[in-house]
Symmetry: D2
Subunit: 416 residues, 4 copies
Amino acid sequence: MDFAPSSRSAELSERIRAFTAEHIAPVEPEVHRDIARRREHGEDRWTPPPVLADLKVRARAAGLWNLFLPREHAGRYAADFGTDRGEGLSNIDYAPVAEAMGASMLAPLVFNCNAPDTGNMEVLLRYGSEDQRQEWLEPLLTGEIRSAFCMTEPDVASSDATNMAATAVLDGDDVVINGTKWFSTGVGNPECRILVFMGVTDPDADRHSRHTMVLVPMDTPGVRVDRMLTTMGYFDEPLGHGEVSFTDVRVPATNILLGPGRAFEIAQGRLGPGRVHHCMRAIGLAERALELGVRRAMDRTAFGRPLAKLGGNGERIADARIAINRSRLLVLHAAWLLDQGMSRAALSAVSEIKVDVPNMALDVIDLAIQLHGGAGLTDDFPLAAAWVGARSLRLADGPDEVHRGVVARLELGKYR
Amino acid sequence: MDFAPSSRSAELSERIRAFTAEHIAPVEPEVHRDIARRREHGEDRWTPPPVLADLKVRARAAGLWNLFLPREHAGRYAADFGTDRGEGLSNIDYAPVAEAMGASMLAPLVFNCNAPDTGNMEVLLRYGSEDQRQEWLEPLLTGEIRSAFCMTEPDVASSDATNMAATAVLDGDDVVINGTKWFSTGVGNPECRILVFMGVTDPDADRHSRHTMVLVPMDTPGVRVDRMLTTMGYFDEPLGHGEVSFTDVRVPATNILLGPGRAFEIAQGRLGPGRVHHCMRAIGLAERALELGVRRAMDRTAFGRPLAKLGGNGERIADARIAINRSRLLVLHAAWLLDQGMSRAALSAVSEIKVDVPNMALDVIDLAIQLHGGAGLTDDFPLAAAWVGARSLRLADGPDEVHRGVVARLELGKYR
Amino acid sequence: MDFAPSSRSAELSERIRAFTAEHIAPVEPEVHRDIARRREHGEDRWTPPPVLADLKVRARAAGLWNLFLPREHAGRYAADFGTDRGEGLSNIDYAPVAEAMGASMLAPLVFNCNAPDTGNMEVLLRYGSEDQRQEWLEPLLTGEIRSAFCMTEPDVASSDATNMAATAVLDGDDVVINGTKWFSTGVGNPECRILVFMGVTDPDADRHSRHTMVLVPMDTPGVRVDRMLTTMGYFDEPLGHGEVSFTDVRVPATNILLGPGRAFEIAQGRLGPGRVHHCMRAIGLAERALELGVRRAMDRTAFGRPLAKLGGNGERIADARIAINRSRLLVLHAAWLLDQGMSRAALSAVSEIKVDVPNMALDVIDLAIQLHGGAGLTDDFPLAAAWVGARSLRLADGPDEVHRGVVARLELGKYR
Amino acid sequence: MDFAPSSRSAELSERIRAFTAEHIAPVEPEVHRDIARRREHGEDRWTPPPVLADLKVRARAAGLWNLFLPREHAGRYAADFGTDRGEGLSNIDYAPVAEAMGASMLAPLVFNCNAPDTGNMEVLLRYGSEDQRQEWLEPLLTGEIRSAFCMTEPDVASSDATNMAATAVLDGDDVVINGTKWFSTGVGNPECRILVFMGVTDPDADRHSRHTMVLVPMDTPGVRVDRMLTTMGYFDEPLGHGEVSFTDVRVPATNILLGPGRAFEIAQGRLGPGRVHHCMRAIGLAERALELGVRRAMDRTAFGRPLAKLGGNGERIADARIAINRSRLLVLHAAWLLDQGMSRAALSAVSEIKVDVPNMALDVIDLAIQLHGGAGLTDDFPLAAAWVGARSLRLADGPDEVHRGVVARLELGKYR
């Protein structure tokens, strides 16, 4: 057993941290203030701020680009699209890199490693045809365009993915798409050009063979972003979460991914690493929150002592340290299991971290908010937004309850 | 011991509920949507919507007006300004009325029972001079104007109120005010005309005799709302939480409340009943959240069963029911103790509910959000805003930690 | 609403406390030490110590006897068997009395108010024939004999009472009983003379009409205490929890309570008030634990300060105070609802306290143990035994999970 | 990063498991029943049962002996006293072995790897003179004799080790010892021959240089075991926890370990690995509890379904799985840090696991108890004893609060 990261992983994490400290952190507050100002004045705040484009150029030049590309599937894309050595990283090597990015809300965008684009790119890598990859994967890898994933529906309990009721009906050489999706992250951004849509093709097939995934260009007639949603008051510009209606949307059948009725197969492959990424970023977020909380607790004085020395604050800080450390190890272990192949152990591990990490992060961020007093709720600090991000993670990609169900099923299965 | 509410209390609560169901609930979503739309388009959303004025007229006509007026201090104001029988309610009688109002975000405004105006009116009732009451209390009681409370400061740990560093210096017949306050709730609203300001008058006096409370009209030169703050993305229009700077603001010394150096005396009297009100409204909010959660859990189906029958959802609903019931009783008991006089038991009880209730409400609302899936985070339901409101309560009027400290001190004191 | 106890309730609680302080507390440690010594040396420790008999005489003489007798059912027994005024107490009046008794492990025995005798006496009062009452209730009321309740079985999940598989078969004028019961509290005590047994009479009847309750004298041939059980190392002498086998035990059919197949009807009536008693005693236990914990935390010094001032100890003490206070109110409210009749609200309330109180008590006692350091785990303090008692309560009379299920079902029922 | 154990570690863990399954598990219940029977009848139950001696012979023959011997300090003792390859294990290699042993209460004794003997042997290895090692370490390594550690005192808050008030006064060539210690684990066992005693030598020295550790043979005049203590009703035979008085106990100054006033130096070195061992055994205990709980939940049926499928049981089982996995990783990481040298990171890590693991184990064991119903509290299953063991760990070797204090101090230290 060896807990030291590989030298490549350690070096990349360190470079991400250094780049973030030097280039992103100084501009981040202004980006958020600018978006807030635009929102306040009813101006467009969905077009990404120009500084973001500059940072992306710089990040790509530094070789800190597309680091999410998976070792096993990256292929020539790693060489062609900027990954530092021309090869992808294993999950265990990428995990600390993702943690480093997670400490900043902007960083994942800057390094072209943000959800849902990473997941969509991975789907195209693993399941896309050569044409699909050329048309959509390549501009996603260069960062020219952005994408969204259209799965969750407002009218059904989407925690059970077989409930999805939107349709993708084969009609000659076309697929005709109808229905309403929401929580389609990224559709606010005008650079978002391609949607990965999931809908029912064959309602009479087996529950897990009914649905199909289809690539739907945003500008296809019948696609409409009906509204942008808030999560606890935040629009999360410049990506945003949209409600998207599809009315008799017609695309060629060649836009189908993998094949009709194979959506669940894709979802399965897409979600393991994606959840590790989400969770490692959340670890990074929790670390940053704890640092902010501790600094505040040392700087502010009440009743004659720094907050850090008052009542239970020290013990709570200790509990936060313990919680972060053990959750990080759980994610790293899950990443390592994924690298060994998608065993039952890996399946459980991915669901375990999906339950554990967001709840841990929420507790730590909440403590940091409390240590900041009212300020912690404002946008003077990134804590309120961080909390909302972590809260969303308890629902996105499967709510806690579904993942606990997976873990329980596998646990009981050991004794059958 | 008798847990049945008095007939007056029961009847008023019932009428508040009926009024809310008939008049407020139908328009509430549109009010929120309208504010969101205005925010989206950069239009004014601080002027209260016209429907609110209509509802206030109607509420006053129905005798559901200023019900917060305390039995002991209401005096002739209860008769003159609309309370149903011309006399104030005891805390124990008002508590269920406040719970009924708490189920709706608008209701407290409609019934002229919203914070911080109620607290400010109470201060004027109890400590205001005849002139002060005539000038400010009366238009507050009619709902013509609104007020704010300027205590918390951005630059100090305000959980220790003796830290407040803004100044209120006597200069001849005037008081000269300087400093910056924030989390001044209500200053967004253009109807807000009067501020209750707290600042240091005599820095050499005993810690609890340094500060003075002063009435400062909003239009006094030197008063400026520098910005409106968000709490987790929400501006809480049409009241809002502002950062207010005071630069050489000069008002006559007759604007001082009670006397120089007597701010803590006032704060003490102001906060007991105010905390009971906050807590009872939070109970109402939790009840509403639970109802929404249970209804959703019964309506939505996943994996072949309604959510309410899946995994631990039923048990969590049971825990929420238990938590609400016991916290309500704790608040009612605190209200009853206050009615018996501000004993040490009442002092502890008020701090106990201030810790207990917001945390309970957060858990219940969080459960309701989780049962709603992603929808729970949007503004399609009042849950996200409710959560943020309850979260703020863990900081407003003293953070949990300070109140736990009070309870602990009184507990240890029993054995000294 | 009025939170003041009635004068009778207040006076009786006060007298129980005074009696306990004067007569029981001084001898209690020696009673426990003596039992421990006897256990250590393999001597009989099931015969109640002589001092207990003396205390019972004194308690009866003081009119502090059989106070559990319920107002509605006590009838002439209240007058004949020593209750202070010759009439039973309402649940709300008895509740504070039960709390006062709960602070001492011996007190319930001294005042003839201990489980399971109180429940059995209540069953006889409400459902016993005149003969049954004369033969068994009267000597129970005088304290001459003791009883046990034989329901839980080792071979089935007894949380579902319809699982009980022991049999009570009608055979002419007799009932023939077979099966094994355990957690029969009280059978260690040689004064235990009568068992209330529950078994299947008609396996083909409706699930809730299969079982019968039968009075089985301990000395009936075929009844055997196979062993005494420990709960976490404690035998709980002198009552104890036994495993009892019944082999072709034959008693006259007149020993049946209420009638064949009516066991569930009796269980329903028996358990409401019994659970309130259990819970109020647990409140008393938690109060005593908190007092011990606070005193210890004030007396002991580490790192230069009393424990009470170190780290989170003060906050935890505050949380314990809050938790006890709100749980007490929940139990009092349940008692009050029971007094109003066994409504759905009362049904939920009884299950709510059954979940809430033991868990609360465990947390408080655990804190007190922690504040005592290792000493808290020994029998130098009553905390370890108190913890085990409270832990047992999470299983006795229905585990938490079953009661949460009841609360959830009633909650969902509101919206059907 | 690599989460696979070394082949030696994996093989040894596997062999420990196999040995335990084959040789220990079949006799363990009878050992416990025999002790219970002896306790019940007042017979000696402190002499270890003969089967234990047989098992030790067999374990030593199998090379599963003294595996705790640390790689860095084992020296020739590893070769001479039975460790499989004649060399000690690193902490990371030993950790899974300790987990394997922790699943059984007897196993650590069988493999000569039980506390406090391991800690005492380590002290002798690292700090003992050649004579001290020959006289005491060698018979401890062969298992001929046993030892105890006399530190905690009944009269002071021992969580602050500088509070210890017993004395070890130099008098010519002797040390004279006075005072009372308790929670001296192992002194019940007649094979216990040597005590490691800690007392004040120079009350005027710096707080951490006052105390001395001295080897005190059990048969030295003036040493008396005053009584054996229970922890929640358990005596933990055959080791037991004793209260030991020292009255003018005189031993030669050559019995001093390391030197006068150097007790804290020794304690520091002793406790790191010992805490890892404790924690890994607790992980093993939690795993066993979870297995028992899951099996019971699958075997027992209530309300028509196996318990595992009822309400929140499945989710709780999932939470237990998550909790065990993440805590195990935290301990393994701490072990690895120790192997890298006792850095600040290792210092924090050891305190982190000391807080985290016992609390985790308590939750898991409590769940298993609850799933067993009343049976879980009896000695028919090892759960009640396991719970008490884990509960003791929250106090032994420093209570949670002290370790949280260490973690907090180190965390704040990062930002100074």
